[in-house]
């Protein structure tokens, strides 16, 4: 790698001074700039929603009401959930797509750069609107991120309307973003890159984008019906007016279950890129991985009522949704088996991205197991709405999606910035996160089985021990994330120069570009072997 190439043009022309700097980021249509904006925003929101989790765990440290009142506690659980889902995991995966998809398919940029700018810049306004509800009369939304009617319609605080509009904005952003990703993948691939040759990360994102297009309008419909129920005299969810509160849950989860896969499929993609690199061996059963992902995406539309087993749906509905939900375990199992087979007889090394990917595989599988248990409808009557469910979805979202995002950041950071992250700090971040994550969430399985409902600000004395253990773990987990941010900022200036390939076993088009890559990734389409 010659100096001249390393220092290739990788920034836009811009006016000098602070105005120029602001204008550069505000008006940028570059996929890397927008990817960076997405990632920085989700990192910031991660700490906002994380602080809310700290408030929750501080209140649950010991029995009794100490720090916050139950009303504020409910606002914290609601906003923590909403922001972590819509403001952290989703934008971060879109950030990865922005950075990586053009580089992985041999394109110069995204297909619709201005749309790309718009889809990002909607988000800061959406989240400002959402968090501003905390300062409104009557407080922020306090009905849980699932906002079941009539708690959110008739009984919702006045700020619910602001929440509704912010969800509309997030939905718009997601729809525009996913359109852009679909168009880019289908039209801007290097001519020699056939569909089945596409990197797995690109595949998972293509499928995710279709899921987003399918379900975000449904969420928009749900919140709009909520709005008209609140203000325009309709009774979609109001039994007194001939409506049905269960209708809300059907609509919400018809969105909500595919949404869960929207959060995890890009994570699958990241891990499927990283494991082969550090195993120095091609991904096992590549085509099967793609088919399994498609299979999971299709099944995601047929399982929504497993969130509603205790609502009194008919026996036949219980049976149908139980069977289909159990079926999801098959393609998911195929993915896990394939990752393990990729490592089998490989030549393994354990850099930070690989460590996070390994933790992902083990802990996501544990989350999958508890998911399978929850699928057994009769048993779900005991698990539903307890801390067992809280443990389950934090295993698939924290040690699943979030750990996969860490994997991706450490893996591609040298490519993005041209500098290596600090490996020692990376390992500290990994080990502390791994231990504290399990100390936080594993005891929650026991709490749920012993009978502790979720979303309560205070609890009976029999739950006291595991609660303080969980809180302790949560505080350590929270502080540990500062190491991550410090590492990223520190290494940006002080890290070692990265080579073009970065990793010994790296594979794919992004590693044929210099680190950092030129501003317009591929100006002529590369040849794919």
């Amino acid at each position: 790698m010659t100096e001249a190439v390393v220092h290739a043009h990788h920034g836009p022309d811009r006016r000098p001074g602070i105005i120029g700097w602001i204008a550069r980021w505000l008006f940028t249509t570059n996929h890397k700039d927008i990817g960076t904006l997405y990632l920085v925003m989700s990192c910031f929101m991660f700490f906002v929603a994380g602080a809310m989790a700290m408030v929750i765990r501080a209140e649950l440290w010991i029995p009794g009401l100490q720090i916050v009142n139950p009303h504020f506690f409910n606002q914290m659980t609601t906003l923590h959930g909403l922001i972590m889902v819509f403001g952290v995991i989703m934008p971060a995966t879109v950030g990865f797509a922005n950075w990586m998809v053009p580089m992985m398919i041999g394109a110069p940029d995204m297909a619709l750069p201005r749309l790309n700018n718009l889809s990002f810049w909607i988000l800061p306004f959406a989240f400002t609107l959402l968090t501003s509800t905390l300062f409104m009369k009557g407080g922020a939304p306090d009905f849980g991120w699932t906002f079941y009617a009539p708690l959110s319609s008739t009984y919702g605080p006045p700020s619910t309307d602001f929440f509704i509009f912010s969800v509309h904005m997030m939905g718009m952003s997601s729809i525009l973003g996913s359109l852009n990703i679909i168009v880019t993948i289908l039209n801007l691939r290097a001519p020699s890159m056939k569909m089945m040759k596409m990197p797995i990360f690109v595949w998972t994102w293509l499928i995710t984008a279709f899921l987003l297009l399918a379900v975000m309008p449904i969420l928009a419909g749900a919140v709009t019906m909520l709005l008209t129920d609140r203000h325009f005299g309709t009774s979609f969810f109001n039994a007194a007016g001939g409506g049905d509160p269960l209708l809300f849950q059907h609509i919400f989860w018809f969105f909500g279950h595919p949404e869960v896969y929207i959060l995890i499929l890009p994570a699958f993609g990241i891990v499927s890129e990283v494991v082969p690199t550090f195993s120095r061996k091609p991904l096992f059963g590549r085509n099967m991985m793609i088919y399994a992902t498609i299979c999971i995406a299709v099944l995601s539309f047929l399982v929504w009522a497993h969130h509603m087993f205790t609502t009194g749906i008919t026996l036949s509905a219980e049976l149908f949704f139980m069977y289909v939900t159990m079926l999801v375990a098959v393609p998911t199992g195929v993915k896990v088996f394939n990752w393990v087979s990729t490592m089998y007889k490989g030549s393994l090394t354990f850099e930070t991205p690989m460590l996070f990917a390994l933790a992902f595989i083990v802990l996501f599988t544990i989350g999958g197991f508890s998911g399978l248990m929850l699928a057994i409808a009769p048993a779900d009557f005991q698990y539903q709405d307890t801390y067992f469910v809280v443990a389950h979805f934090h295993y698939v979202l924290v040690s699943g999606s979030l750990f996969a995002l860490f994997t991706g950041v450490y893996y591609w950071y040298p490519k993005w910035t041209g500098r290596m992250y600090n490996e020692a700090l990376g390992k500290w971040h990994f080990w502390l996160s791994l231990i504290s994550m399990n100390v936080t969430f594993f005891p929650m399985h026991f709490l749920g089985l012993a009978g502790m409902p979720r979303r309560i600000p205070d609890y009976a004395l029999q739950f006291a021990d595991f609660n303080w253990i969980a809180s302790l773990g949560a505080f350590v987990f929270g502080i540990t994330q500062l190491i991550f941010v410090f590492n990223l900022i520190y290494s940006r200036y002080k890290g070692k120069q990265a080579t073009m390939e970065v990793w010994e076993g790296s594979h794919g088009l992004e590693w044929t570009l210099p680190s950092p890559p030129p501003y317009h990734s591929f100006e002529t389409p590369p040849e794919v072997k």
Binding site: M322, M343, K345, G346, F350, M373, A450, G451, I469
Partner: protein, 412 residues
């Protein structure tokens, strides 16, 4: 390498520490077996699927662990280049599928049994309210409300928490053992969920719909549960307590209930109550029924739960408006109708208390007979718009209100 081993050791140490702490404290680790055939079936399913997961986990993580140890580059292992095997792929799709089929069979049978609520020996209607349960014995004609009985002083850490902190109620549900009891579950406001883990019964209470569940309890005892569906601010404070008695004890309890029910109402209403008596009872009833929303000090949580201290309803005239709102509630808001839940004495006491407590020194005394009179007549149903107007009128024209309302800043 040394560092990794050390980290591994400390990980082991930490996990054993966690386990020993929990063992010492005797915290429960697993689902309760319960006392109904249904809860036993659920427990068996739970253990079966758990062990299936454990076995699969041991195999998968075993292979993975083997690779992590044996196939590392630092041991000089060369990477093989195989990346496909159709047969292996088919096997590991089909085998889990077959395991799932085997698992689905018992799950289906249990589900069928769970949904078979035919031929019940008795039926109890359960209605969820923010934040209490109402139990109606449909065949016996008795009904009562069940409220959290843990005192505020324990919740606010001013007093030592008793053993059944947050899991105790003033009127527990009493049922006989060895009888098929059908529960009809519904709600008066938002969605609640009636859950008693020992029975394996959890059913959502939906406003406007009636859900069914059933239980046949094997063993006499006290069983505790909680509302499982987020139902607003005090979701964590609406426990369920069920006392299962032998048939003989249950009949005795039933008889006592019916006789008490009769005597309580008639004599007390006719009696003339003093303002001290009403204030004393009023404070007690207010703290149980009203303070969760309007707060012990009457400050409320505006705008959802308005302040009562200095409010236009609790200090203004006519007094009948105050009584009517307590009786009928305000439709479309969190203010429920208490007419069904409370008798005339209770409502008279609460009204008197609210009109005189804090700085609402109106001096008004509301007798049980006043409440009985309001019950007898056709009442106006107040809406939140009307009350908002009333409230605004009072704020903009302070000179029209009496001097006693100097405390109206409490209404902010």
């Amino acid at each position: 390498m040394r560092l990794k081993r050390k980290l591994f050791q400390s990980l082991l140490l930490l996990s054993s520490l966690v386990l020993s702490v929990s063992a010492l404290a005797k915290s429960s680790l697993n689902m309760p077996v319960g006392v109904t055939p249904m809860s036993h079936d659920i427990y068996d399913l739970h253990m079966t699927i758990l062990w299936i997961c454990v076995v699969i986990g041991v195999i998968v993580f075993g292979v993975m662990g083997y690779s992590l140890v044996m196939h590392r580059k630092s041991r000089g292992h060369q990477a093989a280049q195989f990346h496909e095997n159709t047969w292996v792929e088919i096997i590991w799709a089909v085998v889990p599928f077959l395991i799932l089929v085997v698992m689905a069979v018992p799950a289906t049978t249990v589900l069928y049994r769970m949904y078979d609520d035919s031929n019940p020996a008795m039926t109890i209607k359960i209605t969820g309210y923010q934040w209490k349960w109402e139990y109606q014995y449909l065949n016996e004609g008795i009904s009562f409300f069940s409220n959290l009985s843990t005192p505020y002083s324990e919740i606010n850490n001013k007093q030592k928490k008793n053993k059944w902190y947050l899991l105790e109620v003033d009127h527990p549900l009493v049922v006989p053992i060895h009888k098929k009891i059908r529960f009809l579950i519904t709600s008066n406001d938002v969605i609640h969920s009636w859950w008693v883990p020992a029975f394996g019964v959890k059913k959502d209470a939906l406003p406007g719909f009636i859900n069914e569940a059933w239980a046949r309890i094997n063993k006499p005892g006290i069983y505790r549960g909680q509302c499982a569906e987020l139902c607003g601010i005090h979701h964590g404070f609406m426990p369920i307590v069920v006392i299962a008695k032998t048939e003989k004890d249950y009949q005795a309890w039933l008889k006592k209930q019916k006789s008490e029910h009769k005597t309580a109402t008639t004599t007390d209403v006719e009696k003339k109550w003093t303002s001290e008596e009403l204030m004393k009872l009023g404070k007690q009833r207010y703290d149980t029924y009203c303070a969760v929303c309007h707060k012990v000090d009457g400050s409320g949580m505006p705008p959802t739960f308005p302040a009562l201290a200095g409010s236009s309803v609790a200090t203004g005239k006519p007094i009948s408006r105050h009584i009517d709102i307590i009786l009928d509630g305000i439709p479309g808001t969190a203010m429920q109708a208490f007419g069904k839940q409370l008798n005339d004495v209770d409502i008279a006491a609460i009204t008197t208390y609210e009109r005189n407590a804090w700085s609402n020194n109106t001096g008004d005394v509301v007798e049980p007979s006043d409440v009985a009179k309001r019950r007898a007549v056709q009442r106006h149903m107040y809406t939140s718009e009307e009350l908002k107007k009333l409230h605004n009128a009072k704020i903009t024209k302070p000179n029209t209100t009496t001097k006693k309302n100097s405390s109206s800043q409490g209404e902010k």
